[in-house]
Symmetry: C2
Subunit: 186 residues, 2 copies
Amino acid sequence: MREQIMKKCMELFAQKGFSETSIQEITDALGLTKAAFYYYFKSKEQVLMEIHTDFIDAGLKEQERILKECKSAERMLKENISLIIKSANDPWAGKIFVREMQNLKEEHLAEVKKKRSLYQKNIRRMLEIGVENGEFSPDFDLDIVAIGIYALANSTFNWLKPNGRLSESEISNIFCKLVLNGIKKQ
Amino acid sequence: MREQIMKKCMELFAQKGFSETSIQEITDALGLTKAAFYYYFKSKEQVLMEIHTDFIDAGLKEQERILKECKSAERMLKENISLIIKSANDPWAGKIFVREMQNLKEEHLAEVKKKRSLYQKNIRRMLEIGVENGEFSPDFDLDIVAIGIYALANSTFNWLKPNGRLSESEISNIFCKLVLNGIKKQ
């Protein structure tokens, strides 16, 4: 039941927006009483926070796998960029993640921001590995390049359309080529 | 007087947020009556729209100059990226531009989005010039690269801090190097 409530909330938050969705609508759509909702969740905001943490925790876990399994920094960055663009294509969570962050409570927002900054640090770590093993140029400020790559890939959350002119993987390839040409050792 | 009202609104919108600023506060801060405000502006939203159009029109005008004056596409992109990062450092308009867009009326939002897309097209034009004259690789999808460069430079609106570790122009140089290495003919 908890799972079903989460799923319905994701659907409604993505379609109508968080502020425009009432708990009444959520429970009506599932044929539940409001009491059932409050049995599982303290508030609508708690659901929003769980959507955010599930989304970003899954991303962080994938990054750990990438850092452990990939044999080159180039491969790491390719997989990470492709992963971000794939997430942007998620019809529900992706939309909510980028649009509704400002509706989180202050302490939740701080927690999400901390995780996003960890995500960015992992991208920086991949760049660092590439510099250490001679794949990438040592002449870059890696903090700024990591921010740039994260921003580049994340921008797809704002404009990627399902069934657009280019596929998710085509876009990912273009961004990877741009960035990897940019930082590789000349 | 119109100018003074605009300036005070920019200050208050940037400090407190558009929704949190009342017309009463604006007129109190200037020692005016509300009637004086309504003599110059139809609504608070009209001021917000003018802040947006002034900001983006100034950017578009600069792009025209860049397209006309610069001798190479590399120079054009460098100037354009540096221009965006400079705008992001504007303590008032830059903040309002990125945070308050969703408070525009639907038809105003459509107008601003149209201008933003024109801005992106101008970046695409610079890339095209570079491909035509042999500076840049012909192997890129220029729409996607233009979106990427715009996103990269615009991300500074979200994180650039005055008096941060690196200056505006240092950050601009890093992004330019990354992007220009990325697209130049090998």
